[in-house]
Amino acid sequence: MNLFSFPLAFLFFAAPDAPGTTGRLINLYPVDYAIIAIYFVMVLGIGFYLKRFAKSGEDFFLAGREMTAWVAGLSFVSANLGALELMGWAAATYQYGILAAHWYWIGAIPAIVFLGLVMMPFYYISKTHSVPGYLQMRYGEASRALAAVMFSLMTLFMAGIDMYAMALIMKIVLGWDINFSIWISAMTVAVYVTLGGLFSAIFNEVLQFFLIWLGALLIPILGLMETGGWSGLVARVHQNFPNGDYTHMWSNMGNFTDNPMGIHWTGIVFGLGFIISFGYWTTDFLVVQRILAAKDIRAAKLAPIIGGYFKMAVPFIVILPGLLALAVLPFHLVPESQVGPGQHSYNEVLPLMLARYCGPGLLGLGMTALIAGFMSGMAGNSSAFATVWTYDLYRPFIRKGASDEHYVKVGRWTVMIGMLISIGTAYLVMEFKSIMDYVQALFSFFIAPLFGTVILGMLWMRVTPAAGFWGLLCGVVSSITMWAIVKIDHNMLAYIALSADAKDMAENMYRALWSWLICVTVTLVVTMFTKPKPIEELKGLVYGATELPSEGHLPLWHRPIFWGVLSLVLFVILQYIFW
């Protein structure tokens, strides 16, 4: 679960027993249950097997820093690709059309390439165990503590929201009891992450990646066969929805009112494409942790770029099903709050398409892919929280100087206790749906200023420890203030999001942009009046004080920059094709 799935999570938080919703969308057969059960046995078995390899802190929290570029890259994209995102973006595509693909292309690829080529060398060479850990080395304890506390809160809440969202979906789609889904999934994840640490999380994320693709790929394949290809799909969408433009990505972005999302292209390019995506992909520790587990610096640079290619392909299994639903479903879906007798909500797009094309066995595979997606999201949050709590809060502030074995034990206990707290969060969200809004806001307060703080720290030696802390704090406070202002007086939206017609997503993007600018400005101003660290203390942390290994001796196709530039070229081609 990540910032990008948050705007969609509200889709799932209407009353699960709203009148007109069917008891279950899909009936499973014995072979389907067998497939689901085998998945649970497999992930637990992997956890028990990997326990023997997760002895030291480096093993438990960073998978021994032994992952190849491919494994780290697949885990990187898989940690981001949760089931809530799969279902949520398919639902958003049904509602907004192909515009949803922006979150997979401009909202990911440039930032991912930047992470791999520019930032990973500093994360990796510094030997940090986390993003707050990097802040401690670069700026000092105050910055680390602020980042660690915020990150810990976010991951605990997000794991709980993931849990509840999964349980709700299993209830809607399969008729499973919510408590059963919460406890079975949470305890399974808790066991395998406690046993194998990040090893387990990564192994299961890669497994999940294969299951998601193989479980969901049939929908676009059979769907395109049914519509007669892309042109047939477009024709049928226009026939079913003659007043909407669902198949262009940029040509309807010149005005807030010209597109169903209510966004201007500047919001997409500068808000999503720059600030939000760079903030998320380069500083969210859940995804960065997977790259820190790479075996060497070349693998660390290449891993996110490899992940980026797969991220670019994800619209095929997420966006395309949503478009196919617009083309082939004999009825129109409605917002969750408007579901009447015999109607279905946007949320149900993916399960409806699964039920449309998949019989016994394939249904089980598809549902296992969704369950695996949720569980890997929980595992990702769990392992990231354990690392940040143990190394960035417990070790520096509660018990310094203990043995490595002690911290590993603390890490294992943190996983279990963190999971119980997340379960509590899931029940809290069940009772108070508005918490979802606040958690979404919490993430958005933090991610853009954090990017400003980290990137300035990596690229400019002059930035001082005081400036790093105050810039981050002012960026976060300004974001909170802007959010509160709009909550109190909705008319202020016209100033913050540059239009009174802007929707929530647009507001988030512009708020991220302004808070980033404020963070950077404060950082630069405070830098002018405070003392920097001596260069000797910045070695391995900043451009200019770090010896970056040369790749000049490598053939072109072995260099990460070649694959990074190629992915950007492909990204541009896709924008042209779907203009």
């Binding site: 990997l50 021994g64 192994f203 497994l207 294969f210 094309y357 066995g361 595979l365």
Partner: protein, 70 residues
Amino acid sequence: MSEKRHIVPLSFFVGVILLIYGELILGNSLIYLSRPPTTVLGELHPEVWWGAILTVIGGVYVYLFRPGRS
């Protein structure tokens, strides 16, 4: 650290689960071959060919990444 060199490759686990799933799906679909599911395009028997694909991919992965293979 030396124990890590004997860690079973991740790809082997991927192969095992795909092989099991492929055989389950393929086997189940062959049993009901004369009664295809009432899904759209069910007459194309997607369970059969998808189950076969999973079995082949899983089998290849299990063979290529089996423990002890140098």
